[in-house]
Symmetry: C2
């Protein structure tokens, strides 16, 4: 008999298949391969082919937009939003709109075309996290913005259009619906209980163990109780923290370690799947609070079902999180070559 489970944070019910639970080998898809063919605007020597850089780490002297960097942030050449202009809010009868003011940046994670985020050294991943933070702090000075979204599409199946490993940042004049729901629901929980719902969840998961993939000094990796997708995974700071970008420095090194470790686990268990990840942090102006707990959500792209889930908010997850946590926990990390 399958199970219906409710996500404790936003109250979404999902169906978890139990009888014919899908194992990693049951998902037919292509592994993400880096072919390295053709021109790449993110490789050394092609810096002039991107818009002028916003940030670069690692270049000791020398002019901007030249080789020598380790991490490089540039505006997206085909931005979803435009950086110029004031917010112009308009009504049109029932409808509301505003002009699409925002920032859309690309974080090139390494000059090495053949690397993935998982195979970068820990220090390299940590630098990427610092670049996320530096860009967030800078963009928060712009009073037009209400939210800064960091995300990564890895592999074509997950929406990546260039294979050279990179993440993206979008600064928005509104808070995305899913984040708003999480923050508002956590706030209601806090108002009732004076406890953070994520902290409560972490305590319970540590006790029951079955959905814990692993942990380190500052982080825990969980398969969530009511996942929408098989092998979905959340990385959460063990101590309450409401904003990714306002964290103590050692946290970034610790996140880099657990992120690398778990991306390698996904690669090992699912044979280098395409995936998305995103950071959920508090909205701008609400950074310091006791109710919202920032985290990173990783979703391997294993299944094809699409429009139906989009249209209903109703998900069928073919692998129970207890199973996916076990597979990930027991993964043999043969791919570890930093």
């Amino acid at each position: 008999m399958p199970e219906l489970r409710k996500d404790p944070i936003i109250g979404r019910w999902v169906i978890i298949s139990t009888d014919r639970a899908k194992r990693p080998t049951d998902f037919l898809r292509e592994s993400v391969e880096i072919k390295g063919k053709g021109f790449c605007p993110f490789c050394y020597g092609n810096e002039e082919k991107t818009p002028p850089e916003i940030l670069a780490y690692g270049r000791n002297g020398g002019p901007p937009n030249t080789p020598g960097w380790h991490v490089r942030v540039v505006p997206n050449k085909f931005p979803a939003l435009g950086i110029e202009g004031e917010l112009d809010r308009q009504g049109e009868g029932l409808f509301d709109r505003m002009n699409g003011v925002g920032a859309h940046e690309v974080i090139v994670e390494t000059p090495e075309h053949k690397c993935t985020l998982a195979t970068l050294p820990e220090k390299g991943i940590e630098d990427v996290l610092w670049a996320y933070r530096d860009r967030m702090l800078d963009l928060k000075n712009d009073k037009r913005f209400r939210y800064i979204l960091i995300f990564k599409n890895h592999g074509e199946a997950a929406g990546a259009s260039l294979e050279h490993t990179h993440s993206q940042l979008i600064a928005l004049p509104i808070v995305p619906k899913r984040v708003r729901e999480e923050v508002d629901s956590s706030k209601r929980y806090y108002q009732e209980k004076e406890r953070c719902i994520f902290c409560d969840m972490i305590r319970q998961e540590v006790e029951s163990e079955v959905r814990v993939v692993n942990e380190n000094d500052h982080f825990i990796a969980l398969a969530p109780y009511a996942p929408r997708f098989p092998f979905e995974m959340w990385l959460l700071p063990k101590q309450h923290g409401s904003a990714f970008e306002n964290t103590q420095s050692p946290i970034y090194a610790s996140l880099a370690r657990i992120l690398k470790d778990n991306l390698l686990r996904l690669d090992a268990v699912l044979d280098r799947p395409a995936y998305n990840f995103m950071i959920h942090t508090s909205p701008i102006g609400e950074e310091s609070n006791e109710h919202y707990h920032w985290h990173l959500e990783i979703m391997p792209k294993l299944t094809k079902v699409a429009g139906f889930e989009w249209g209903t908010g109703f998900y069928i997850c073919p692998t129970p999180p207890e199973e996916s946590a076990r597979f990930l926990r027991e993964a043999k990390l043969t791919l570890t070559k930093p």
Copy 2:
């Protein structure tokens, strides 16, 4: 400059690209082809290969599970939920679960393997709609259920695993999140204004015309103001109605006509795309109301972006609905061969 638009019903903001708006030919994908190779459990003569039928139209006499039917409803051979057993609600600390009680049925829309829903005669489509209704009314006698979801996956890219044209029905002991949000938001609007928000929207769209694809006696086809997907389309009854299954008989014939017409338009404009559609109707026990307006949502599967949108509730639509409505309105329906 792109535009940010807010869906008036559930308040979701989306980005609409305007500068480099994508035209139909900009979407690279495969057309849905019916190959007709191999064994098909939905063809005449293979009735014994499905679970025993629940409903069949068109067979004059003769035993069940034999040829002669026009529309046939069978239990899904690999159901997402189990039909046996009581609802058993349990808590587990923070978490809520219940056993996965529900119905999962398949509506085989025609015995013709080579047909699509779009190429069926209008009468055939009407029969499919009557089958939806008959199954909904029957399942609503089961006190365990709170919602009945009708949906269709057309083409492999949209999640169809068998190519013989069919729809699906899932009866659930909970109301899916997206439906709950729509119903609750419409209710709040009604409480404030004593008007249905969908009726208001239809009035405004008819006046402005730009997003109307077409209409007939009882229905209007719109590209919604704040779509998540390019060429998304909604079919709405022009007169207020809160439940698909409690509609007057002529409505089904009218819906069959506008559905066929618009599926043919999608086929013509987008060269037979994969698509999903779903019917949003009032939850069980709330059927008769002034605030919720049932409708059918059609989402062609044109873009690949996936996990990111799932994880954030944040969508970038590369084609403004005014453009997609114009393309669909001006479509040459050369494919019309009933």
